[in-house]
Every structure is written in structure tokens, then in C-alpha cells.
């Protein structure tokens, strides 16, 4: 890991500008590869269960079930692009949901007034945990893995302290009826998915088109050179963990709306599922490379696999095997690409030949 990082850093400083461009090209290929994988999986299941699988009703519920993870995936993509990690998203989600539910329970009422307060409380809690993560990582220089492992336990523990471990099931009906199970008026698109899409588009633009996004990639590619060219690295890192936390807060209220319960015992593998999706989507764990689009595709692969396996009637355990294989494959492709980039072959060979990883070295 360290060697790859060191070598790619040299490559980065030598030709920063051309590198960004070539990386973008490779990136597109990687996202496209993973999209192809998704399409193949989709077509296989469509062939196996033509009357059930490729229907809008089925696709709709896959989209609905991916929505909450999608919101978390945005923040995680930003974090992983900086070569960080955020293990606390699942616990943060639960904590935010618990505090929001508690506040809404205390306020009573099932109308929008209560719901809006709940939404702000959830997002506020999420931002708070994100800020704590960010400050500890950027200022106190504690590794992200450790900081977020700490807040993973702390947030879940506090959620259990607040509730005594007993799930709160009094969620305002408007949240459940409109966000949780409602459709966008006039369509059959779930509201929760529209919300997720808005966030995905918004932060996709932020990551790929704004200065903030550019700095995020810069910090992830090479923190030291980013610092030297005047990027406020600490502030950038804190903002990114705050973003991840805030989105976990959003996911918290979405989860409350969808499940109608705080589901404290749930979400224990959410962080790993989201990280897996981000990595499958072509975002490199070593930082500096990644797309929101890839993450979204990466989220759909496990979801479509599970849905397909259930419909075809395959034993549920196989889904985990398949996802594990795709995950390792994705990281392997990333490693090969990094090794190739380190040897200076990244730009020229990056044509259509390289669709399935480059073999030429």
C-alpha cells in the first residue's frame, strides 16, 4: 500500500495536469466497466425471470431500497477520494434517527411541523458527529479508521443510552406516508428515491465540477502537494467529514420514514456495504480517484444481485459470495491501473483496449 502510494505520488508531481486528465479518462472506463457488469447481471436475471424481474414494479422497489444507501454513498465517496474512511455512518444514522424520533415524540403530533423539526434535528446530529470526526482526523491527526471506529461505537452506544435499547416507533405519519412509502405526485417513482437522486446530482456536481471537488481530489491524490499549492487541507478534510456526517443524518430521517422505527439493532453492516459499493464503483481506497456515478452503480450491483437471487429462488447466502467476488475484482482492477500509472503507461495505452484492465506490461 505504502509503496504504491509513494510511487503514484512521484508520478503525480511530475505531470499533475496531464495526470488529472488521463485519470479522468481511465475513470470513465472504470465506471463504464462496472455499468457493463451491472447491465450483464440485469440481463441475465431478465432472461431467467422475464415476467417478473425486468418490470418497473420490481426495478422501482430496487431503486427504493437503494435510496438510503445512495445518500450515504455520496459522503463516503468524498471521504474515500481523500483516501479516508468513515466507518461511523451506520451508527451516525441510527443516532440521528433516535434523537430525531425522541424530539418528535416529545413534541407529539403527526403533522409537518413536527416532521420538519425532526428533519433538522437529524441533520444537525449527523453534522455534529461529522464535525467531531473531521476535527479529530484533520487537527488531532488520528487516523480516520480509528476516529470513525471510535465514533461508530460511541454513536451507537449513545443511541442505546438515550432509548435504553428500546426502539422508538412513534414516527409522524406524514414522514411515513410521503417520504417513506409515498410516490412523487403523478408518477410511481418513490419520493425517497427522488430525494436521493437530488442529493446525488447535487453532490455529483460539487465533486466533479466545483473548486471544492477539485480540492477534494487534490487532497486525496497528494495531501502534501495540495497543502503546498495553497489548499487548506485541514479545512477541506473537516468539511468532507461534516458532509458525510450530515448525509448520514439525512439518511437517518429517511430510514425513520421508511421503517417507522429507529431500528437500533439494524444498520450494523451498513458502513461496510456502502464502502464496498464505493470501491466497486471505481473509487480508489488510496484516494484521488472516484466518481459519484460509479458509487451509484456500485450500490445497484449488490441490490440487483439480491433481488435477482430472491426472485429466481437461489439460496440467499450466494448474494454475499457474489458481491465479495465483485468487490475484490474491482480493487484488483484499481491496483493494476495504479501499478500501470506508476510505470508511466497510463495515458497512451488508455484506449478502448483497456476495457477489462490493462494486460500490456
Amino acid at each position: 500500500m505504502t509503496t504504491t502510494e509513494a510511487t503514484s505520488r512521484t508520478a503525480g508531481t511530475v505531470a499533475e495536469l496531464s495526470r488529472t486528465r488521463s485519470l479522468r479518462q481511465v475513470l470513465q472506463i472504470q465506471s463504464f466497466q462496472i455499468l457493463l457488469v451491472l447491465l450483464v447481471i440485469f440481463l441475465i436475471f431478465a432472461a431467467l425471470a422475464p415476467e417478473v424481474f425486468p418490470t418497473w414494479g420490481n426495478v422501482r422497489q430496487i431503486i427504493q431500497n437503494v435510496s438510503i444507501l445512495g445518500v450515504l454513498g455520496i459522503g463516503m465517496t468524498f471521504v474515500i477520494v481523500t483516501s479516508g474512511i468513515d466507518l461511523s455512518v451506520g451508527s451516525n444514522l441510527v443516532f440521528s434517527g433516535v434523537v430525531a424520533a425522541k424530539v418528535m415524540q416529545a413534541m407529539g403530533g403527526s403533522g409537518w411541523g413536527t416532521a420538519i423539526v425532526g428533519i433538522f434535528v437529524a441533520v444537525g446530529c449527523g453534522l455534529g458527529w461529522g464535525l467531531l470526526n473531521g476535527v479529530l482526523i484533520a487537527k488531532a491527526k488520528v487516523p480516520p479508521l480509528i476516529v470513525t471506529l471510535g465514533t461508530l461505537g460511541a454513536a451507537l452506544g449513545l443511541a442505546q443510552v438515550i432509548t435504553g435499547g428500546v426502539d422508538i416507533r412513534e414516527v409522524p405519519e406524514v414522514l411515513q406516508d410521503t417520504i417513506g412509502y409515498g410516490n412523487v405526485p403523478g408518477t410511481t417513482l418513490p419520493t425517497i428515491s427522488l430525494i436521493a437522486m437530488v442529493f446525488i446530482l447535487l453532490f455529483g456536481i460539487v465533486l466533479h465540477r466545483t473548486r471544492f471537488g477539485l480540492y477534494t481530489f487534490a487532497v486525496g491524490s497528494n495531501e502534501e502537494s495540495a497543502r503546498r499549492v495553497g489548499v487548506k487541507v485541514d479545512r477541506q478534510l473537516i468539511s468532507i467529514y461534516v458532509l458525510s456526517g450530515g448525509l448520514a443524518g439525512v439518511a437517518g430521517i429517511l430510514s425513520l420514514s421508511q421503517y417507522g422505527t429507529t431500528a437500533i439493532a439494524g444498520q450494523s453492516a451498513t458502513n461496510l456495504n456502502v464502502i464496498a459499493a464505493v470501491v466497486i464503483g471505481g473509487t480508489s481506497l488510496f484516494g484521488g480517484v472516484g466518481t459519484i456515478f460509479g458509487t451509484v452503480v456500485g450500490l445497484f450491483i449488490p441490490a440487483v444481485l439480491q433481488n435477482g437471487f430472491v426472485i429466481v429462488g437461489i439460496q440467499p447466502f450466494w448474494q454475499q459470495v457474489a458481491v465479495g467476488a465483485v468487490l475484490v475484482l474491482a480493487v484488483y482492477v484499481d491496483q493494476r491501473r495504479r501499478a500501470a500509472a506508476a510505470r508511466g503507461q497510463s495515458t497512451k495505452a488508455g484506449g478502448k483496449k483497456a476495457f477489462f484492465g490493462r494486460r500490456s506490461h
Binding site: 479522468r24 420490481n58 431500497n65 435499547g165 431500528a263 439493532a265 441490490a303 433481488n307
Partner: protein, 326 residues
């Protein structure tokens, strides 16, 4: 920062997606025709647990004799956030009936109600939901009675009384809550016993072991622990063993998986309250088939339980032991 290729890519993706959903619109979902082989789906609370495997055995046997097919699915953990996507996928495959053990009374309400609204007959097995009025039938053990029976078992083992504790799974799991309530009722009604309350192990044996160790550190004179399900019993036994108090603390487990039976035979656990998962499954299929045919169903069915001890395990108790495969 040129982004034309990206936009092209996005556009390609969207095109692919729209063309897919477009062709998806063409093929309408079709339920299986009347008179054909009934399609049943069984959604477990957690995959691979002997209780649900035994239930699956009952379901498979009953379905086979009735000429029905069964698709069995279950989440890797007893967790509504993992079970909901499975429920949605099963509903999308539009079976004639779903037999399901809901993992949360609130979270599974809406998805199952939607399934019932889509014309799928829903049979709740073992656990239930907040408002089960949409379900054709709800079949479960008399869990409250089971909890009370567990207290009686502890009392048989400790006639002189003392401190008793409950290790449950998660709050909100209807069956476990009922067992705890039954036990609590019995313990509070008996003045020689002091009820220490309930701790939640979140279906994790290691967590149960930690809870029991901590409880024994606080109250070293606990005489009995009621472990409300399989995982809780496993962990409780470990915790008691770690504290070296096997002779003092009597453990009564709920459920009779191979691990519990082994513990019973080894004397780690002194009694087991066994449910009848196979019977729940068989009756579930009966009710499901009735509902599919449009016949009237029995809204609520309670199955019994059996106290298994070292004395009857090789005799009439053996048939109540759960299976790890059919």
C-alpha cells in the same frame, strides 16, 4: 475540467436505463393462473437458524403433499433493514402466498400490507406486526405462556427462590417481548423471587455472554437466568461458565436447537422450553392454501411448547428438538 466525455457517459447510462425500463413496461407481471401449482414463499426471520430450518421442514413437507412449490429466503441477520429488500423482491415475484416471520412490528407493517393489497395472501408465522388485520392468518407459539413456563422451570430447579434475570434478543420482537412478559408476570407474582429485569443481547451470543458476566459481577447471587432465544441461551451459558458459577446459576433456555440440546446434555443448561416450529410451518401452509382457494382461514392460531429436561431428552422430548436440515 472538461466534462463532455462524462456527460456522454451519463447520457449513455441514462439511455440504457430508460430503454431498459421501457422494455420493462412491455411485460406485465402475471400471477400464476388458478388451478396451477400454488406458489408459496417463505421468508425467515434469519437464514440458517434451526428454528426456522425446522419450520421450513414443516412447510416443505406440507407444501409437497399439497403439490405447492416453496421459495425460501431469509436475511443474514435478524434485522428489518436487511429483511425489507427481501420482502420487496419476493412480492415482486408475486407468489400466491407469503409465509413470513417479520423481524420488526413496525418496519414490516407497510411492506406486508402492500403485499396483501397486491393480492398475495400473507401468513404471519412466529412473529407478527403492529396491525396484522391484513394477514390471512397469524400462527405463533403461545409465547407468554412459554415465558411463564420458563419461570416455572426455574422455580422447579430453585424451589427456595432468589434473584432471576432475563436475557432477551431485541426489544420490539413480539415473540421475545411476550416471553419476557410471561416470565416477569410469574416472577413478580412469587415473593420468594427477585426479578432483576431484562437485558438485550441483540441476537449476538458474545453480547449475551458479556451481559451475563456483568450481571454476575453486580449480583453474584443470581440463581436463575431465562434466555429468551437460541442465541441468548448460547451466550448466557458461556457467560455463566466464564464466571465459574455453573452449579449456582440455573439456566432455562427457549428453543431447542442442536446447540441447546448439547448444552442440556452437558448440564450447562438445565431446562429448555421448546416450541413447535415444524407444526407452525405445517399449519401455515394449510392456512395459506385455504386462503388461496378463497376458503375461510383461522385468523389466529397458537401452538404449544414442551419443557425439555435431562430426564425426558432421550424419551418423549427428543421429537421436539429442532433440526439443522430437513
Amino acid at each position: 475540467m472538461k466534462l463532455t466525455p462524462k456527460i456522454t457517459l451519463l447520457a449513455a447510462g441514462m439511455l440504457a436505463a430508460t430503454s431498459l425500463s421501457a422494455c420493462a413496461g412491455g411485460s406485465a407481471p402475471s400471477g400464476s393462473a388458478a388451478g396451477a401449482q400454488p406458489k408459496l414463499a417463505f421468508i425467515q426471520g434469519v437464514a440458517g437458524d434451526e428454528f426456522y430450518v425446522s419450520m421450513q421442514c414443516g412447510i416443505n413437507a406440507a407444501a409437497k403433499s399439497a403439490g405447492a412449490s416453496v421459495n425460501t429466503q431469509g436475511p443474514a441477520k435478524f434485522d428489518p433493514t436487511l429483511q425489507k429488500p427481501i420482502v420487496d423482491s419476493v412480492v415482486a415475484s408475486h407468489p400466491d402466498a407469503i409465509l413470513i416471520a417479520p423481524t420488526d412490528v413496525a418496519a414490516m407493517q407497510a411492506p406486508l400490507k402492500a403485499a396483501a393489497a397486491a393480492g398475495i395472501k400473507v401468513i404471519l408465522v412466529d412473529t407478527t406486526v403492529q396491525d396484522p388485520s391484513f394477514a390471512s392468518s397469524a400462527i405463533a407459539s403461545d409465547n407468554k405462556g412459554g415465558g411463564l413456563e420458563a419461570f416455572k422451570a426455574i422455580k422447579n430447579l430453585n424451589p427456595q427462590g432468589g434473584k432471576v434475570l432475563v436475557i432477551s434478543t431485541d426489544p420490539g420482537v413480539s415473540t421475545a417481548d411476550a416471553r419476557v412478559a410471561g416470565f416477569e408476570e410469574g416472577a413478580k407474582a412469587d415473593s420468594s423471587f427477585q426479578y432483576l429485569g431484562v437485558q438485550y443481547s441483540h441476537n449476538d451470543p458474545a453480547e449475551a455472554a458479556r451481559l451475563v458476566s456483568a450481571a454476575l459481577a453486580k449480583d453474584s447471587d443470581i440463581v436463575g437466568v431465562f434466555a429468551a432465544n437460541t442465541f441468548a441461551a448460547e451466550g448466557t451459558a458461556t457467560g455463566v461458565r466464564q464466571a465459574g458459577k455453573q452449579d449456582q446459576v440455573k439456566i432455562v433456555g427457549f428453543d431447542a436447537g442442536p446447540a441447546q440440546v448439547k448444552q442440556l446434555k452437558e448440564g450447562v443448561v438445565q431446562a429448555l422450553i421448546a416450541q413447535e416450529p415444524s407444526s407452525i410451518g405445517t399449519q401455515g401452509v394449510e392456512q395459506a392454501l385455504k386462503a388461496i382457494k378463497g376458503e375461510s382461514t383461522q385468523k389466529e392460531i397458537q401452538t404449544g411448547f414442551k419443557q425439555i429436561t435431562a430426564e425426558n431428552i432421550s424419551g418423549d422430548g427428543s421429537q421436539y428438538v429442532y433440526k439443522s436440515s430437513c
